[in-house]
Amino acid sequence: MSDKTKQLKPEDVNGVRRTTCSTAGPLMVSVADGKMIRVEPMQFDPAEVDSWQCEVNGKVYKPPLTHPLLPWGMIGRQMAYSENRVRYPMKRVDWDPNGERNTQNRGVSGYERISWDEAFDIIESEMKRIIETYGPSAMSEFYSAHPEWGSLHYFFSDWVRFWDMMDATHIDFTPNSWEGWSAGATLMWGHWPSQGIPAAPDTLFDVSENDDLIVLWGVDPMFHNLYGGCDQARLWRWWKELGKEVILIEPLYNEVGLGFADKWIPIYPGTDGAMACAVAYVWITEGTYDQEYLDTHCIGFDEEHMPEGVPAGNSFKTYILGEAKDQTPKTPEWAEEKCGVPARVIRKLAREWANRPTSFWVFTGGACRRQFGEEFPRLAVVLGMMRGMGKPGSNMVGPFLSLCGPFDSVNQVGPFGYADGGMNAVCENYSLNNTKQHLTFQKLYEAVDKGKLEYYGGDLFNTSAEEYFFERKYPEDGESEVHFFWQRGSSCTNPPDRNTHLKFLRHPKIETFFVSAPWFDRECRMADLVLPTTTMYEREDITEPASVGQYIPPAYIGLRSAIYHQRCIDVVGESKTDMDILAEIADRFGLKDTYLEGNTEEGFLRKMLATTNIPMSFEDFRDKGYYVWPAPKDYKPNKQFNDFWRDPEANPMPSPTGKVEIFSTLVWEKYGYNDEIPPVPHYIPELEGHEPSELKEKYPLQQLLAHPKFRFHGKYNDCTWLTGAYKVKGPDGYPYEPVLIHPNDAAARGLKDGDIVICYNDRGKVLAGVQVTYRMKEGVAQLTYGAWNDPLDGGYGPAPDRGGDGQYLTYGGEMSVHHLSGAYNSSLIEIEKADLEQLAKDYPEGWAGKYRTWNKEGN
């Protein structure tokens, strides 16, 4: 037995407790001797919590006191001190801002350490040179949509403020988490703050109290997964205890399905629209839908409710019954041939749905991120309308940031979300950008290479459905092509068709490419200058867990709280906050006061707290680290679409007619009848999809690009605490990214579990480790995105990416004539066994790791 004198003291074990919040949820961090010794989920003291609750059949649900985290919640110690941290400014060795830039060597050559002074001098002289040579619009900026959690320290705060002040060209995201909803559903029920996805207030109570059936169509609410998800686990279990039936429709038997579904209906990707049409067919032919609601709340369902001047035969009902141009009734038997779901199952689904109050989980998801991806969301809207959307029990929900418990944003004013502007919300002035030119991230290579681009709008900052029709051009009159590109965060949102994106990043016209990031991953490996930034453990902030703000309205099912990000540790290496880096540059342009208005980090945070009505002084809040709101008093729930359901005239939709336009007047006016975006939604087979084609014969498997369970998009691919659970160890010891395939597809190719394979199509090749599973629909292969790149030939030739990034294979083209992109789930691939020994021989340098994302030295 050990010497008693060596027993641990409680204070040594516990350390000092700090608080912060991550993309996985709020955290408590134990610190001792300046180091983190423990990262835990936030645990609220029951004595200080006045919780809301939901009671049904005498059974009670209360949100958990310990916040359930997403898988990367507690990896902070491995990641903050990771070997892959950027610890000091680095310059690519063969990038000489005064000489040869060697843009072709991005991703190949290594990096040398430089001082911050040298780095700032380079940044200053490069920006001044660019402005003098081309004008400010030649500077462009972009950011990872998935950085560390924050509000003051977030791109909507420090980043947009700086670059708008500098008149840079903004690179736009498209709303690529819910692309088809944004491009399609907006045409029916208008824009909404979430671009096509209406808020779902008070749905937690509606589902709990009123629904008997829950249909999950192409969504995994727990592991989708953004900022929340695991916090639903106990809620799903409670719903099951209450006897609710859960049905999952998906090509993958997803996690919520495995955990809670009574029935999994496997479906071919991209054929959801066919099944939706057949459900509508059953309801129409059996008369089991809400005709009165459609008559008063919608236009275009039947010939009796069409806008004036539209020729007969253009209603939805006409299309479904086979009385329109295609003369094809959309029967369950017709759908079975397309989607692979037996007609009896489709018919039964339609009947169950019609007979019982049903919660329809359908927003976002892979079914909307594909060719003609506007159509399924539009069809889903019609199904919602046919069920009288808004009446008790009739709701539509999404997999994340959608389901909502009681949320009183009027009397409980919190710090709200990351899109609420951070420092901009408390500054006196904002310098509007004088450069009107934008550029979409979906077409960067094409735009830069050709030097011009004409496209229709459709981006993350849209404010109306009509903006999809706006004509945009690059460069704008009087403005410059971009020659300077700075990205905040190392892993941008994983653009499709990686090889094309690499060509953009290596383009000689991009004379300067900077990345500021905490970790040396993804795009860092392509940058000319890499600047170290802090993680949320190294800076202070005020946030509200899982609150996005503005463009995604409140949707929280936990105990609502506000978190003070206490500084847990000193900065790692020489890292700085983005704000401090940008403030220094602003200073060199004489704009520091314009940028910061004399505020410090603490000054901003004091002002940000003052915009809330949290009943704590700044000092108390900072010291304690969090505030938990009590259950809202005298709370009046106003369920999603309830007002519209009761009185559509007094509560119109934000659509041209104020009704839900099953027949879209916007589409009709813009396109007339166009096969790619007809005025009433259709099932349109994908060109690169399940239905037979020449390409399908060559590449017979549909790639499924679902969210990675154990990565936050492109982050944490190097966290061995997580990779140990999912990567497939090859015979060479390399941790390969998994590819999931059905046993029949494996057998047809002579593959078995654990084999290392090449997944390929005309766009690229990647290596992956086979996981044979019945969780996949036959004919579908899940190869997800966000794995760090390790191209065996540096990404110049035909060699595969050993890292297994599924985006090498994805389709980067248009969704339809209506929207410029977002169709990356429409990708066909083939898989065959890899000859690792031959690859090692053919590409010795690459095999040894020369081009790896995480190889800073480039040797």
């Binding site: 050990s2 990896i75 110690r77 279990r237 605490w721 659970a725």
Partner: protein, 276 residues
């Protein structure tokens, strides 16, 4: 005395239990309770097994950590006296006594494969129920606190009574005769699954009774088909079974010699309409 109650049916393989364990024990020296864990050690691990086939497949996920056995083979195997049981029943491998060990007898003695050998420190290591945290006044081991779905719960052993339990109490591999302290409910069982359709495959058959009879013991297990005709009936032990379907308006059907030594899917089973 407290123990962990594990319900594998609730496990989502979300990673929080083992990441919490890694966080607590990697690069942290909690001697004399535990030396730092190395990257290749998984003191708690979720064993995943895919069973049955098609859309009726099931993914079994069983979290396994040191079972804190009453009959602890690791203790018996250690001839240095490095492994001891605390008053609260938690078994500890003393990192100092074990350090520089030239044997790994306890590693191979553990039938649950939850004792690990640290090659750097030359010592054996395993889950301690986070005894250092319990001693410091905390209520539960890290893995339990982190679990979002109560697949792991820290409970008083005295409370594991029939009236308190929502399912029969089980132990992991009782055949090892280790008499573990860690408790389980709803461990994966053999089952038969499938879906019932009418003979013309035009409709699903809901509400049919499904009787699954062990052909040796005669034990009968019962279930009903759901909305889509799906059925899933657990049995208590591997063996051969007769599966009988009874539904109003349909001919009774029995499928014999169904091999449930492993879970099995009958896929689509058709029932014929009774001729009036």
């Amino acid at each position: 005395m407290k123990t962990i109650l594990v319900d594998p049916s609730r496990c989502l393989q979300c990673s929080n239990c083992w990441v919490a364990c890694k966080d607590e024990h990697t690069d942290n020296d909690w001697s004399p309770i535990a030396a730092p864990q190395t990257d290749d050690q998984w003191w708690i691990k979720i064993y995943e097994t895919e069973v049955a086939s098609g859309a009726h497949m099931k993914l079994n996920r069983v979290p396994i950590m040191c079972q804190q056995c009453e009959n602890a083979y690791c203790m018996e195997a250690c001839d240095k006296g490095a492994i001891y049981r605390r008053d609260d029943g938690i078994i500890i491998i003393d990192p100092e006594i074990c350090s520089g060990a030239d044997c790994d007898k306890c590693v191979s003695a553990c039938p649950y494969e939850r004792v690990f050998f640290n090659e750097e420190r030359k010592c054996a290591q395993k889950c301690t129920f986070c005894a250092h945290l319990l001693d410091a006044g905390r209520e539960a081991p890290r893995c339990v606190t982190a679990c979002p779905n109560d697949a792991l719960v820290f409970v008083d052993e005295d409370e594991l009574t029939e009236e308190n339990m929502y399912a029969p109490l089980e132990r992991l591999y009782p055949e090892y005769k280790t008499n573990p302290k860690v408790a389980y409910v709803k461990l994966p069982k053999p089952f038969v699954a499938g879906e019932l359709a009418t003979d013309d495959e035009q409709d699903c058959i809901e509400g049919a009774q499904v009787l699954v009879t062990n052909q040796v013991t005669g034990a009968v297990f019962e279930g009903y088909s759901g909305s889509f005709g799906d059925f899933h009936v657990d049995v208590d032990k591997p063996g051969f079974y007769t599966v009988t379907f009874v539904a109003d308006g349909f001919k009774r059907k029995s499928i014999k010699d169904v091999d449930l030594r492993e879970p099995f899917s009958l896929d689509v089973v058709k029932l014929w309409t009774l001729v009036k």
